[in-house]
């Protein structure tokens, strides 16, 4: 079955979505990520959506779900690389992704996750 790879990097998980996802693929990613957070005891998830030129309400909901599920599992989620045209469209669609952390790129997203982890440990 088609799957989006999840990479483990220390206490974090990294996902780069490179394909135009159909709905089942989005649901599989949601399941795989929550299972992996639990298995690896991950403290953060970084989702790179810079290659996505469309985020509709289904994919938007998947992103919000992942973020909420990760939080319940004691992990932070940050979504990075959203294209400006996607951001404009999402807000107009009525899905501003409140409660989901975002960063401009992977580097800033990793910095955010590291900062959060240090705060918790301090």
């Amino acid at each position: 079955m088609e799957r989006i790879p999840i990479l483990k990097m220390g206490p974090f998980l990294l996902v780069t979505i490179q394909v135009d996802m159909h709905d089942q693929l989005a649901l599989t990613l949601q399941d795989d990520l929550t299972a992996k957070i639990s298995k690896e005891r991950s403290r953060g998830v970084l989702i790179d959506i810079s290659a996505l030129d469309v985020v509709d309400s289904f994919i938007g909901r998947m992103i919000a779900n992942i973020s909420a599920m990760a939080r319940v599992l004691d992990a932070q989620t940050v979504v990075v690389g959203m294209q400006p045209s996607v951001a404009i469209t999402l807000v107009e669609l009525g899905l501003p992704l409140e409660g989901v952390h975002t960063a401009l790129n992977v580097e800033k997203g990793m910095a955010l996750l590291n900062r959060r982890l240090e705060e918790v440990r301090a």
Binding site: D53, D56, S57, F58, T89, E92, L93
Partner: protein
């Protein structure tokens, strides 16, 4: 490029695509993106119409039990646009006004599809009655 399962109609600039599976929704998005690019839509306009189409295609698949979308290229003087008509023979919508409200859903979704698609387009109309299917038409001009 015309995707698999499409039927070319005699009228120039009009194509019908099936909307029955999640893969059909992806194909509709990709075909529409090419069309919008080809007639010179800005990146934001491309994204808006493709996103609206994705919402409506999912409605056709889930609530309409599958159907098809007709994609037309519009020309009015120097203006260019795209018109999409989603057609299904499903159970229809009992209360269209209620269905357009954000947050209303009879499925498991967010209830943003119809209202969201309407906000992303310049023209929007629904023709639906219980038992006689649904036809949703949207258009966006550049």
């Amino acid at each position: 490029m015309i995707p698999r399962g499409a039927t070319q109609r005699p009228a120039a600039g009009s194509v019908k695509l099936p909307v029955r599976t999640p893969e059909d929704i992806v194909r509709t998005r990709q075909f529409l993106r090419e069309q919008a690019k080809a007639i010179g839509f800005s990146l934001v306009d491309q994204t808006k119409i493709v996103t609206a189409a994705s919402e409506l295609a999912r409605n056709t698949m889930i609530y309409g039990g599958g159907g098809e979308v007709e994609i037309q290229t519009l020309a009015e003087g120097a203006r260019r646009g795209l018109r999409l008509t989603f057609i299904d023979q499903g159970p229809g919508i009992a209360d269209v006004e209620l269905a357009l409200k954000d947050g209303f859903t009879t499925g498991g979704g967010l209830g943003l599809g119809l209202g969201g698609a309407k906000r992303l387009c310049n023209e929007f109309s629904i023709d639906s009655r219980p038992g006689s299917g649904t036809r949703v038409t949207i258009a966006r001009w550049k």
